[in-house]
Amino acid sequence: MEVLEENISFQVDENGYYGQFGGAFVPEMLHPNVEELRTRYLDIMADPGFQAEFNGLLRHYVGRPTPLYLAKRLSEKFGTTIYLKREDLCHTGAHKVNNTIGQILLAQRLGKKRIVAETGAGQHGVATATVCALMGVECIVYMGELDIERQAPNVARMKMLGAEVRPATCGSKTLKDATNEAMRHWINNPADTHYIIGSVVGPHPYPDMVTRFQSVISAEMKTQLKEQTGNSNPDFVVACVGGGSNAAGAFYHYLDEPSVQLIAVEAAGQGVDSGHSAATTALGKPGVLHGSRTILMQTEDGQVVEPYSLSAGLDYPGIGPVHAHLFQTGRARFLSATDDEALKASFELARIEGIIPALETSHALAILDRIGAGKDDVVVAGYLYEVSLIGCQLSVIRFFNSLIQN
């Protein structure tokens, strides 16, 4: 375990930075909206009425707390003790809804009448469409053309929930491009629209706001671990990082507990050096992406590189600024898993625990043998979603068919 400097803060500072990362690098067209959010989000979130409504919905609508499940056979296999935080059992099937519930309540208090969002895997789009249906608010979701194809079941869910799904046809036609389009939409509709970003990315205050909404994950983990093991701190917390919202939520209450090793897992795609990867910290450099100073994959000329991952939720060339800071300070260790490793891990979990994980989560499961967890250690991993709910991710179906054929 690395020795950390004592006085490093992992919270956002009053200017919206995590160390050197963060800030609000937005054109003037977005400034009033972002500024309104910045000046009001903490007060709104601290309001007892907001808290009551948020917690009530998390409990009765989302189904929180989600179980912390001791995965016995998985633990046996890795010779350690592994708990899975079952975010797949959230309403809509992933952690994304924790954030969208928070943001829709906030948008209402800001007097916004419409919602725009981006989505990669479609989970955030579904979670956004869901809360918009719940509140009777118009919802537009931008999604990369490629993702619309590979995540077709989620497109159908969004439409059924009444959202309009608009394709992003530029660039790599994935999450980055959907994010660009959602930002343009917000520029064009500044007065009545709120932009529900789906991860801990974007200009300040989004990374902090989304982290706070997702922090319920580690708040529950602490209580549940205490109940089940007598100690609220595990030795390792492992989470996949696309933009990094599930990881930020899972790490949050452990940031200042140096005995807890935080492991972030990025998507290596076909391999970190294959030219088809989304392993941001391995391949990226500091710069500005989608409104914040962070680490991103880019050319020498500062052009954003089109990432690649089989998993649409991790197919993003940046990470949230909080993760750039955790990486730079060494507070979190960043590993990566390839498409193949993630797919193998997903089949393995399905066969030994009876849980079909999301392809995103499978990246976190794929590196469990690499973190150095011993037999006395407690590892919490997870954030799964049950694909059987929605049919199956097409990419998994294709992989499965190829397995059968061979």
């Binding site: 690098f25 007065a191 000329d301 052009q303």
Partner: protein
């Protein structure tokens, strides 16, 4: 005095600022377009540094950025192409416009030094936050004599407009409507009310109105409320469709400036 300041001092109205993307339509077209614009009567130019993810731009400028990048345009190449432009008789003010990441990767100080060397007068970096400018970059920009241009929009509060006026020089880029570039809405009555509101603020800096300015009618309208206007997407469309830049550019500029009494305060 910087060329931009000189221009507004000597010609306080009817200024036409033309935006084009460096390296578009061809990677080697930058200097030629610049010269033809000067000959055709543009009063200042804004050269866009292409970026892979231009979030404040509509489809026309997005596509020109993408094309320019495919053509191989980079910040380094652009600065090389601009070398010697002043010696070759380019006298109009030249601004570089672009998203901040490529500039950061080039190195802010090295970028400013190069800009000064080749004779660039000002910068427009729409996603550079004001606090970052004031705390980190202002001193460097000033060292190299580069004016930093800020944007205001219909949503910008009066207090912020005043603040922007205090910390800017050159001119204030008045964005006509809540939109990305290339909106087709023209100049509406709403916009005119907003232009009037800003005009009545008696700002220190001249103002140029941009976004949605595309022809003589919209240009003239904008000029009634400001010291001039900026044409971007409409000019990019001319470049896109042009068979002969040498005639299409002057034809377009003349059509926009027809009836315009540049230099005469109307």
């Amino acid at each position: 005095m910087n060329r931009i300041e000189k221009l507004f001092a000597s010609q306080p109205s009817g200024n036409l600022n033309v935006y084009f993307t460096a390296g578009f339509p061809g990677v080697g077209d930058t200097r030629r377009i610049l010269s033809v614009l000067q000959e055709s009567g543009a009063d200042l130019v804004e050269i866009g540094m292409p970026y892979s993810d231009p979030v404040a731009d509509g489809e026309t400028i997005q596509l020109s950025n993408q094309q320019a990048l495919e053509n191989g345009m980079t910040v380094r190449l652009l600065l090389e192409q601009l070398e010697g432009m002043r010696e070759d008789g380019i006298t109009l003010p030249v601004l570089l416009m672009g998203y901040i990441n490529p500039v950061i990767q080039f190195g802010i100080e090295r970028f400013c030094e190069k800009c000064a060397e080749v004779g660039v007068d000002g910068l427009i970096l729409p996603d550079m936050p004001m606090d970052v400018y004031l705390n980190e970059y202002k001193a460097i920009f000033e060292k190299y004599g580069l004016l930093n241009i800020f944007l205001v929009t219909p949503q910008t509060s009066e207090a912020r407009i005043r603040q922007i006026d205090q910390v800017s020089s050159g001119f204030i880029y008045t964005v006509s409507s809540a939109s990305v570039t290339g909106s087709q809405s023209g100049v509406s009555d709403n916009m005119e009310a907003y232009f009037e509101r800003i005009d009545a603020m008696n700002l220190r800096n001249p103002r140029l109105i941009g976004f949605g300015i595309k022809d003589n009618v919209t240009f003239e309208k904008a000029c009634r409320y400001a010291q001039g206007a900026i044409i971007g997407s409409a000019f990019i469309r001319v470049l896109q469709e042009s068979q002969d830049l040498g005639t299409d550019i002057p034809d377009f500029i003349h059509s926009v400036k027809a009836n315009n009494h540049a230099g005469i305060d109307v």
